[in-house]
Each structure stands twice: as C-alpha cells, then as structure tokens.
Amino acid sequence: MGFLVSAWNRYKWSYFFIAPSMFFFFIFLLYPVFRVFLLAFQEWALKGSKWVGLRNFQDIFFGLSSKLFWYTMEHTVLYAVVVVVVWIVTALVVAGLLQPLDNRVQSLYRGAFYLPYVTSIVIISLVWIWIFNPDYGFFNWLLGLAHVEPLRWLVDPKIALWSVILSTILIVPGSGVVLYSAAIGSIPRELYEAAEVEGASAVRKWLHITIPLLQPTTLYLTVIYTIAAFQVFDRVFIMTGGGPINATTTIVQLIYATAFSDFNFGKASAEALVLFVIIAAFSAVQFKLLSTEVEY
C-alpha cells in the first residue's frame, strides 16, 4: 500500500498534465481507429452489426462496384502524380529565382505565394467554378481571344479531372516555396562563390549545387504532397461532386459517398482502411526522414 501511495505522490502531477489531451486522444482518435478495423469486417446496422469477414474488401476489389473503385484509384493516382511533380518543380524553380533577391523582396514574394492558401480551398474552388464557367467564364473568354473553341471544363467528363488538376497546379505551392527557401538559406555561400570563380552560370549553379543539396527537402516535400494529394476532397466535392458520371471521383470522395449516400458504413470503413494502408506506406517514409533530421 505504502508503495502505491508513494508512487502516486511521485507521478500524480505527470498524469495530471497529460490527462486532458490523452482523454480526447483515446476517445476520439485511438478508439475510432480501433473501431474502423472492426467496422471494415462488418455489415453495419443501427440495431446490431453482423460479421461478414472479408466481404467488404471482396466487394471493393472484385464486386459489382469494383470498376468504380479502380476508376477512383486511377483518378487519385493521376491527380497525385501530376500535382506532386508539377508542385515540386515549380517550388524548386521559384525558390531558386528568389534566392539572389534581397531578403525583404523575398519575403514579399513568399507572402504573395502563400496568400492563396490563406483563404480556404472551398472558397478558391468556388472561384474556379466561375473561372471555368462554359458561357461567361474567364478561361473560355481567353480561349476565345486565341480563336480556340470554348471548353466545357468541369462538365465534359473527358477533361473534368484535368480541369481540377489545372486549378491545383496553376497556383504556386506556397508551402514548398517557403520550405525550399529556408533550406537554400542554409547552403554555405562558399559553394556558390567557388562556382562563380570557375565561371559557372546561374542555371548551372542551380542545377549542380542547389538541387543536389536540397535533396532531403525534395524527398520530404514529395512525401507530404503525395499524402495530401491522396486525401484530396474539398476541391473535388465543391467543383464537381465527383462527377460528371464519376469522372473526378477520388478515394475520399468515394468514402464519403459510400458512407453518406449509400449509408454502407462497413464498406466505407474498408475503403478507408485501403486509403490508410496507402498513406501509412508514405508516412513510414516520412517518419524515416523525420527521424534522421528534424528541422525547425
């Protein structure tokens, strides 16, 4: 008994300090994670769920609707690959262009590049709907000036996904520019000076000094942008709702529809687990990177 009392006295404050956040963490995060593993193997009903083994997964991968799932995966992967590649290249180029400028000018530009992300994706997506409007939208007006036939950007199933992708990649990734700029700041000046003595051009310096030395940041950004791209939802939901005829449905959009249009909670949970596995694989890479160098 005395041992317990002294242990309690010794540790009570520690438990007091972690209690509030651990309370919410266990109830609203750990427990739902545990529950999603159960739900994925159940057919959910308000009055008692039924175990169905692997049927939800069978449904997803081989069932009648499996075509939609693979179609959805295709969209998500295409979106992720294009967006991540363009974003990384854009951020690298922009950060490289910013490098020789005065610090205050740099931070002005960084602010400008980050400003679009300050408003929400919902807001920006509403503006894109207007820009993409087939009759009075800005883009079709531009095409008209160039004597190009107007496009039905978000309405034509053949190009709707590309329109969503275009709306994403036209905006310079502000976070990538900020992170790259910070990393560039820590590259030793002498390296560039040595290259200048040898008469290297700005482009060669960028290619042979900046890019190789930024590799950790590049790897890191690639992983976090890929994870974010696999979770794309807001802009798809607002701009197209996954349509037309599922032409823009992504994984999270599919989970949302399965859960809240079909009310098939079991299958939605199984789909969420598939997303979880994909993201966990990328997260493992991210975690590896983080444990090798945590930078602030």
């Binding site: 995060l29 262009l97 408003t119 929400s120 919902v122 503006v127 207007w130 820009i131």
Partner: protein, 308 residues
Amino acid sequence: MPVTLSQRRTARQRLTSGLAMTAFIYGLLTMDALVSLFPLYWMFNTAFTPGSEVIKLPPELIPKNPSLENFHLVVKAAPNIWRWGANTLFIALVTMGLHVLFDAMSGYAFAKRRFPGSRVLFWLVIAALMIPGQVTLVPLYIMISDMRRVLTEITAGWPQYSVIVEAASNYGAVILPGLADVIGIFLMKQFIQTLPSELEEAARIDGASELNIFTRIILPLSAPALAVNAIFAFQRYWYAFLWPLVVLQKQEYYTLQVGLSFVYRSEFGTNYGLLMAGAAMAAIPMIIFFFAFQRYFMAGIRIGALKG
C-alpha cells in the same frame, strides 16, 4: 595597373547581363505571383461588379461601376452568413484555446517528466500522426451520432432547454473530435525539451508547486511555440470542411465553409456575383489575420509540413 579595353568591356557586359538577369527573374516571379493570385483577384473583381454586368462578354478586368449590390444580395439570400462566420470563429477559437493549453501541458510532461507509460504513450502519439483524418470518419460519425441520441434522450424531459441542447450537440460534434489532434503535443514536446531544466529545478528547490512551475516558468518560456501552435490550430479548424459537413445538421450551426457550399448548391448557385461576394466575405477575415500574423503563419507551414 592600367585597365585594358577588353577588361572594361567584360565588366560592362557583365553588368548589363546582370541587369537583364535580374529583370528576367523579377518578370518570371511576378508572372507566377499574378497567376497564383488571379483567383483571389477575380473573386473580388466579380464580387464588386453589379449583377447584370457579371455575365457579360468581354468581362471587365476592373469593375466599371463598382458596387456593393452583390454583398447586399448574398446577405439577403443567405441571412445566416454572419451566423456562419460567428460559428466558425467560435469553433476555431474554443478548439484553439483548449489545444494551446492541453498541448502545452502534455508536451511539458512528455519533454521534462519521467513517469510509467510515458514512452508508450508518446509512441502512440507519434504513430497517430500518420493516421489521416478520413480513416476515422465513419466510426467517429457513429460515435457522435450515438452520443447525440443519448443527449437528446437524457434531456427529453426538459424541452425548455432544447435550444441549448441542440447548440451543444452541434458545436460539440465539431469541437470534441477536434481536440483529439496530436500534432500540437508533438510540437510542444519538441520545443519544451530544448528549454534548460535548471530554472525548473531551482524553483522546485525553492518549494514552488508543480502547477506554479508550469504556469510561471514553462508557459512564459514557451511563448513562441504557443503562438505558432495557436495560429496553426486556428487555421486547421477555420478551414475544416469534411467533418463539419458531415455532422452539422442545421443551417444555423453551419461553418462558413459548409455554408458557402450550401449556398452554391442552392438556387443562388448560378448567381456568380452573389457567390463571389459570399466567398469574399468569408475570405477577408483570414486575409487580414494573415497579414497581421504572417511570421507565425510561415512558422506554421513548417509544422504543417510534418502532418502533411
């Protein structure tokens, strides 16, 4: 040593090529910035263009007759828009405030105190960083629905309080799961473990209580991290869309993001002037907030990068 003609020429050439280079850099960057900022500019442009002129070709690049007509229209069409703004602010502020306090408390415990279970718990926190929010969407929805049903049943006997119950049920559904986020714990732990332990120990020898050590020493020293965590949390809950969309049941309790998507899906969805005015109203507070706290936003990006 006399400067030869050829040397002079290269110096001059270098100068002009340097100038051309600078002009080129500025040109490219400015073009990039203009394209990036175009949607925001177009939103304000359309919002201030009176209704009939919005759907006109060619579009006006600057409103010829700027007016607030669209803003009046959107307030009339969606009278709840002020309420949505207040809801969003309320939810974001409450979640932020509790996060700042709770994250600092547990960050301090994990950084500076040893207790049985601390390693396992912190390992769980790190593991949870990898779990995307959508994974828990369905089980959380079921849990919250159950909690709401129980709340309604318990309070069924007091119909006079039904308004309060309804408010608690809607705000709670958004706020409570928001408090489970662990990124702030990680951030605070990383920061607090860089603080020297001598101050704490000296205070402990002087007989200061554990609570005082936390409030008088740890909290003031952590001010920069607290600010970053605050802004970062505020942004997360201000922008949140999927979860509020799923759990908010009545228009009065919508957040701005959910409300705007609702206006778009309503009969006013094709009135772009009205829609852009609504979007602008929702965007302005965050834009002001950004310019006021730009430094912390930029620091938040680096932490945001951790979560992805």
